[in-house]
């Protein structure tokens, strides 16, 4: 009990509790994990909200993300600068969205960001190709990838602009009941 006062103030913990899907204990555990990544960089005392950011390379090495084919995109999507440097707040944000409790819409927004490789706010064919190659470790032939891309865009594209906007994406995700359980990382 005494230990937790030194890391965050009560007010901070309340704020985290209200703004994320984590409890105090989990926030402290997350801080522990964050601290573990770079003990010399991350202070134990967060009451003054120090401006510390960890680079992508460190975060991607967490066992939860290490084998994930989308790890770089996940970290980039949650970083303020889009380059993958995460402050502790971004870090909490990331696992909050990926937690079990996060609602479908929130998850969909970030999933869309993750799959939007070229950050043009559309999932176009090129994004899909990248996604597919990551999913299947480039096991599909170019022809098959092409076919899958065309078919999926055809299926999900509602406004006929040959790429998926967020509205298209959300509409499609609404039809996938498993999305909520699979877009989830246990920390």
């Amino acid at each position: 009990m005494g230990n937790k006062q030194t890391i965050f103030t009560d007010e901070q913990l309340d704020a985290y509790q209200d703004c994320t899907f984590f409890t105090r204990k989990e926030i402290l555990r997350l801080h522990g994990r964050y601290h573990e990544l770079a003990p010399h960089l991350v202070p134990m005392d967060y009451t003054e909200e120090p401006d510390v950011k960890l680079p992508l390379a460190l975060i991607v090495n967490m066992p939860e993300l290490k084998e994930n084919p989308f790890r770089n995109r996940i970290v980039e999507s949650f970083s303020e600068d889009g380059l993958g440097n995460l402050s502790f707040n971004d870090f909490v944000d990331m696992f909050s969205v990926l937690s079990e409790m996060a609602p479908r819409e929130l998850k969909a927004i970030y999933a869309f960001k993750i799959y939007d490789f070229n950050v043009d706010n559309y999932i176009c064919k090129e994004d899909l190709e990248k996604t597919l190659n990551k999913l299947t470790r480039e096991e599909l032939t170019a022809e098959e990838v092409n076919l899958v891309c065309e078919k999926s865009i055809e299926e999900a594209d509602l406004d006929g602009d040959n790429k998926l906007s967020f509205a298209d994406f959300e509409n499609m995700i609404a039809r996938a009941p498993d999305f909520l359980s699979t877009f989830h990382i246990r920390i």
């Binding site: 707040n89 971004d90 070229n118 950050v119 899958v148 865009i153 509602l158 990382i185």
Partner: protein, 844 residues
């Protein structure tokens, strides 16, 4: 700024106006030209981040990069990506002006989740709705908005990043947040796609206005300060309660490891096991507190015939276990009283000197109501969780969009082990290939002969399965009859052999051991038959793997239900109907022991099955066949085994109140054994597994045949079967149900003031009419509910169709508007260009 308030609103009304009256087009155009004016005007204000890098080159006015403002800053680093994007963007071919592009890039669909302003204004709208909704009933309009909020509400207005505008919006949002209740506010905050820092800023402001300020002002009244502190204390305690609940989460780490290696499908088995564990803990707590504890405190004088403990009792539940709190026969039929040691006997006057005021505890009544209430609560929890999971998993299930869904939602982010990740991507690869094949096959169609042959195979498989299921049920029926007769003769022989002590002991032992035969036969049938079904299913061809899974589940279920049906008949029809034949003093205890045996033997067989089926199979396939493949974890079969065990436990609660405890131990052991075996011997299943739908199916199966069957047979026992006359809480009564009636009569004579209670009891519990009416109402509610859900589904599909039509029209409109925008811009080019250049120069 008038132009800022133009929304690309999907309002149907709006659309009609723009579509049906081409005369009005000019009006629209003029408004757009105003928009352009504003846009080019706002350029002067020099929003550096907004400037697209290519703008620096004047001759290339046809900018290509369509990034949203906040993302433009780091556009440089993504140079390579952008090159590709430029080539692929179909809008590139036409040379759009920068202003057009600006409008394009601030369109709702491009700003979602990106721009802070857009999000804030969206959530402003949403909180507005919530405030309104709390005052009035939700109208259909509100509902449709909240159902598709993302299309609406992302105004262009706030997107241009004007600081003061955004601040204003933010203030309004904070204002709205304050109006919400705390739980709503927290829910809103959590769901906002903003960063934690921004959210906590919003939160601080929302709390400051409302609660922070009064505390700083000293003239706060004592009462309101008290209220404030109470609110704070309540909130704190609520949070600590929540985190306590979180810390109760069982098996956090093992579950993470399982899901990290095997994915969501296998995880659903363990989650189901956890659910069952909680059900049993609930039953155990209720029974333990209201039945076992009072009875254990008031232990009757120990019976004089002490039996030798041989160890076999642990398996059979007989012998010296018979007369313990474990089984029905041990429970008293009197009113237990605290304080006086010997007041058990009702004839002893209770107001002895030296006795503290007594607490009396009517055991028969407690027994009756504890079992009844625990079943009732279990039923409610089951129905509730079933409806919840139905809502979650069966949304609109359209066959369309399957490939896209597969691509975007099939990756299980939980999986973290390298080999499993590899396996998962292989699986997705094969599934995608299969789907592609299906898509092309769907176009081809099949011949009649092919279909006929397939139907023939299916028919044959079903006949085989049904015959074997029927055969198994018949075998159990005749075997149980045989064992029943066998037991009769043994019992009679033992009675005749009373003289020689040694021999009697031997005989008794044999008799006990023979009781194990029936559970062993049933459990081995349960173990072997699924294998047969699998073999039969192997020759069938199905279009989709999910149908195959459902068919396998249905066949296994049929087997288990028919077995349990036969067993229930055996216990309630044979044993309970004529307990004298077996010289049973207490048939309830006997049935309780039978259920205990079944539960235990089932557990042993499951463990053996795990060992032989998984461990030896792996050894065999690796050592002898030299193959790398490991057996798969059969989720459906394992879950059905769990359901079977739970049905036994529910059936036995009446006869053996501590059976849930046995089930708890069994489930705990099973968790660790299954986990160890899984980690050692198995590989992730190759077939796709729709986890959420499957867990719905399992909960439904747990509710419908399993719980309902157990509840029906328990109620049947309570209502119609005559309880034993020499043991148990209901001795001397014609049915267990009479316990309540008798108590009511006693109450009426003892305390005339409580006649209303008697009246309630006679009308509500005894009168079958009330029961029928309430059951009827319940059924009607369920019926209406399904009708409503059905209607909603239809409305949803209609709406979806409409959306699709609308969106395609809107797409056309969008293109039209953009081209018009472009032409108007072309006309106005010279002046805007100048300001443009000026702004550029001021920037650098």
């Amino acid at each position: 700024m008038a132009a800022r308030n133009i929304n690309f609103d999907m309002d149907l009304h709006h659309m009609e106006v723009t579509m049906e009256s081409p005369v009005d087009e000019d009006v629209v155009h003029s408004s757009f030209s105003r928009l352009i004016e504003e846009q080019s005007g706002s350029l002067d204000q020099g929003h550096g981040a907004l400037e697209l890098e290519d703008l620096s080159d004047e001759r290339r006015d046809h900018v290509t990069y369509l990034a949203a403002p906040s993302w433009a800053e780091h556009g440089q680093q993504r140079g390579q990506d952008l090159e590709v994007a430029m080539v692929n963007d179909p809008l590139i071919d036409e040379r759009w002006s920068s202003a057009t592009l600006r409008v394009l890039s601030s369109m709702p669909s491009r700003t979602i989740g990106r721009s802070r302003g857009a999000i804030i204004s969206q959530y402003y709208n949403r909180t507005m709705q919530l405030c309104r909704r709390r005052q009035t009933r939700p109208t259909i309009r509100d509902f449709s908005r909240s159902a598709r909020p993302s299309i609406r509400g992302y105004g262009v207005e706030s997107d241009c990043g004007d600081g003061s505008e955004e601040e204003r919006k933010k203030d309004q949002l904070v204002n709205n947040l304050q109006k919400l209740s705390i739980s709503d506010r927290v829910r809103m905050l959590r769901a906002m796609p903003l960063s934690v820092a921004e959210k906590s800023d919003l939160r601080k402001r929302a709390y400051n206005y409302k609660e922070g300020r009064p505390i700083s002002s000293s003239q706060m009244s004592c009462c309101s300060r008290l209220k404030y502190y109470i609110i704070i204390a309540l909130r704190q305690s609520w949070y600590s309660w929540l985190s306590f609940l979180h810390s109760l989460q069982l098996w956090q780490v093992p579950l993470k490891r399982v899901s990290g290696r095997f994915g969501t499908g296998v995880l659903s088995y363990f989650l189901f096991l956890k659910i069952l564990l909680f059900f049993n803990i609930f039953l155990f707590l209720i029974n333990g507190f209201f039945l076992v504890l009072p009875q254990a405190i008031h232990r009757p004088p120990p019976a004089n015939l002490s039996q030798k403990f041989t160890g076999l009792e642990l398996l059979t539940g007989g012998g010296s276990f018979t007369n313990t709190v474990m089984f029905y026969g041990h429970y008293s039929h009197r009113t237990l009283t605290s304080g006086c040691r010997h007041s058990d006997n009702a004839s002893v006057p209770t107001d002895q000197p030296g006795c503290p005021p007594r607490l009396s505890f009517n055991m028969p009544l407690a027994y009756f109501f504890t079992i009844g209430v625990s079943f009732f609560i279990t039923c409610i929890i089951l129905v509730y969780s079933m409806s919840k999971s139905f809502g979650k998993s069966f949304r609109i299930n359209k066959s369309q969009g399957y490939l896209a869904v597969k691509v975007f939602s099939s990756w299980d982010f939980k999986v973290i082990k390298r080999t499993s990740v590899k396996l998962q991507s292989e699986n997705i690869c094969t599934q995608l290939k299969e789907l592609l094949g299906e898509v092309s096959r769907r176009e081809e169609g099949q011949s009649v002969l092919h279909r006929l042959g397939r139907a023939l195979v299916h028919g044959l498989a079903w006949i085989l399965c049904l015959i074997s299921t029927g055969g198994a049920a018949l075998a159990v029926y005749y075997f149980s009859e045989y064992m029943h007769k066998d037991l009769e003769t043994r019992v009679l022989e033992t009675r005749d052999l009373e003289t020689r002590d040694l021999e009697t002991g031997q005989r008794l032992l044999e008799q006990q051991a023979s009781l194990l035969a029936l559970p062993v036969v049933v459990s081995s049938l349960n173990l072997l038959m699924p294998g047969l079904f699998n073999a039969v299913g192997w020759m069938e061809v199905y279009d989709s793997p999910s149908i195959r899974t459902y068919v396998a589940i249905f066949r296994n279920l049929l087997l288990k239900v028919s077995m349990l049906g036969v067993l229930c008949y055996h216990w309630l029809g044979r044993v309970a109907a004529d307990p004298g034949k077996l010289l049973l003093q207490c048939w309830e205890s006997f049935v309780g022991q039978e259920l205990y045996r079944f539960l235990l033997i089932d557990f042993i067989f499951t463990v053996l099955g795990t060992f032989f089926g998984e461990f030896l199979w792996r050894m065999c396939s690796q050592r002898v066949l030299k193959r790398k493949r490991m057996p798969e974890f059969d989720i459906a079969r394992n879950v059905l085994e769990l359901i079977y065990g739970q049905t036994l436990a529910w059936l036995g609660v009446l006869f053996s109140p501590l059976l849930p405890a046995v089930q708890i131990v069994k489930l705990l052991l099973l968790f660790y054994i299954k986990k160890a075996s899984l980690m050692q011997n198995c590989q992730a299943p190759r077939r796709p597994w729709r986890a959420s739908q499957m867990s719905t199916v399992f909960i439904t199966l747990l509710c419908f045949p399993s719980f309902l069957g157990a509840a029906v047979s328990v109620t049947y026992t309570m209502w119609t079967i005559r309880p034993s006359q020499d043991c148990g809480p209901f001795r001397g009564l014609s049915t267990m149900f009479q316990a309540g009636k008798q108590w009511m009569l006693e109450l009426k004579t003892a305390n005339p003031n409580l006649t209303w209670l008697t009246w309630i009891h006679t009308t509500m519990v005894e009168n079958p009419l009330f029961l029928f009416i309430s059951a009827g109402i319940f059924l009607m509610v369920i019926y209406f509910h399904t009708q409503v859900v059905d209607g909603q589904r239809k409305v949803i599909s209609l709406l979806q169709e409409q959306i699709e039509n609308l969106v395609s029209i809107v797409g056309e409109d969008k293109k039209f508007l953009i081209t018009r925008l472009q032409t108007i811009h072309e006309q106005r080019r010279p002046p805007s260009r100048k300001t443009h250049r000026a702004s550029e120069e001021s920037c650098f």
